[in-house]
């Protein structure tokens, strides 16, 4: 009688210890670094690092969205980004929050080079290191790196930076989706 109880207790104890050890080992061995959801949201944001959403860059905003923040604070991404995020998170798309700015066509900064005094202030302000130059040397913008975030305009003491809208050409032209609500079934869906 007593031996069988003892055996039962020992067997359960051994099982529990082995399984506990296994799970403990697995939780260390298979630890997931970072939040995969944050990665996905971050990859949908436009990576302008402009800070118009109120966060210091796209990644902090992505983390905030993953924690339940509103998805409509990104003017550079505009409607397309909001739609993609709403799809990913399975929530209703909202219109862009005007408090954080309005959606504009894609722009790049261009420095009027003969007016530049080489103060390096815009280099420090650039979130993506798209401005090239050294102290007392003329600066210039690497066009392909520039995200059009406007952050270099304010620090420039001689106001020699222009924001130029990129005219759509064959490489960056995108198709404009038609207005929603044209088709009757769309309207019925929105009403339901």
């Amino acid at each position: 009688m007593w031996t069988s109880i003892l055996i039962a207790v020992v067997v359960l104890l051994v099982l529990a210890v082995v399984f506990g050890g296994l799970l403990g080992f697995a939780s260390e061995r298979f630890k997931v670094e970072g939040n995969p959801l944050v990665e996905q949201i971050d990859s949908m944001l436009p990576q302008t690092q402009c800070g118009q959403c109120g966060f210091p860059g796209c990644r902090p905003y992505a983390e905030s969205i993953a924690n339940g923040d509103a998805i409509n604070k990104c003017p550079p991404g505009g409607e397309t980004t909001i739609k993609a995020l709403a799809d990913l998170l399975d929530i209703e798309p909202q219109p862009l929050d005007a408090e954080h700015g309005v959606e504009q066509a894609k722009r790049v900064a261009v420095i009027r080079e003969d007016e530049c005094i080489g103060c390096t202030k815009c280099i420090q302000a650039c979130p993506v290191d798209a401005i090239l130059g050294a102290a007392k040397q003329m600066h210039t913008v690497i066009e392909s790196e520039c995200t059009g975030c406007d952050l270099c305009l304010d620090p420039c003491p001689v106001d020699c930076i222009d924001m130029i809208t990129i005219e759509p050409d064959i490489r960056n032209w995108t198709w404009t989706p038609p207005k929603s609500g044209i088709i009757a079934t769309d309207r019925a869906g929105a009403g339901a």
């Binding site: 069988s4 039962a8 067997v11 359960l12 529990a16 296994l22 697995a26 298979f30």
Partner: protein, 193 residues
């Protein structure tokens, strides 16, 4: 061979776990609101039930029986199933984020389900051998998935139907489940295992 086929037909249709044996009713009512979640739940259940019947069979045959500890089977099964599912969840989460998105939240949910423990205990009661145990678990899961997906599809239709106020929501769901159960009773006598 035909014996294995009989086990499958028996568990899927004749002795359906949800509608005939009334096991696993909680997820049946709980996650059948949307077809998509019902699919995820079905996949997770199929996985867990098959795995659970394998593990509990091994634990019973090679640990409890030789030590004459058959009376410990319930608690041992709970322990084994919980650990194996938890472990698999960790591995899946690390190796395949995509699969984790599909199964993720349902895996721990189904672990504590009565259908899972029911399969393990019924396997012991029926003296199933290894292959029979696997098939029994898989068949039970397939039956569960079948009725869960059917029921979810029906509930999606009911959601837009003109249901009298008193019957809306869970009430009409219960009635539908009852009618489904009656319909599945029609399979009785198809095979006898």
């Amino acid at each position: 061979m035909s014996e294995y086929l009989l086990i499958l037909v028996s568990t899927i249709l004749v002795n359906n776990f949800v509608l005939v044996q009334f096991l696993g009713l909680c997820p049946f009512m709980g996650v059948s609101g949307k077809l998509e979640t019902a699919m995820g739940m079905s996949l997770a259940t199929t996985f867990v039930l098959t795995l659970a019947s394998v593990c509990s069979y091994l634990a019973y045959t090679y640990l409890l029986e030789p030590l004459d500890l058959a009376f410990l089977k319930t608690i041992t099964f709970i322990l084994v199933i919980a650990v194996v599912v938890q472990f698999t969840e960790m591995v899946v989460r690390k190796t395949s984020p995509l699969l984790y998105r599909v199964l993720g939240i349902f895996l721990p949910l189904i672990t504590t389900n009565c259908a899972v423990l029911g399969v393990a205990l019924l396997n012991v009661n029926k003296n199933n051998n290894f292959i029979e145990s696997v098939l029994y678990g898989f068949g039970a899961a397939a039956g569960f998935s079948l009725v869960l997906v059917l029921f979810a599809a029906m509930r999606e239709r009911i959601a837009v139907a003109d249901v009298p106020v008193a019957f809306q929501g869970a009430a009409i769901g219960m009635i539908t489940a009852g009618l489904m159960s009656l319909a599945f009773l029609g399979f009785t006598g198809l095979v006898s295992v």
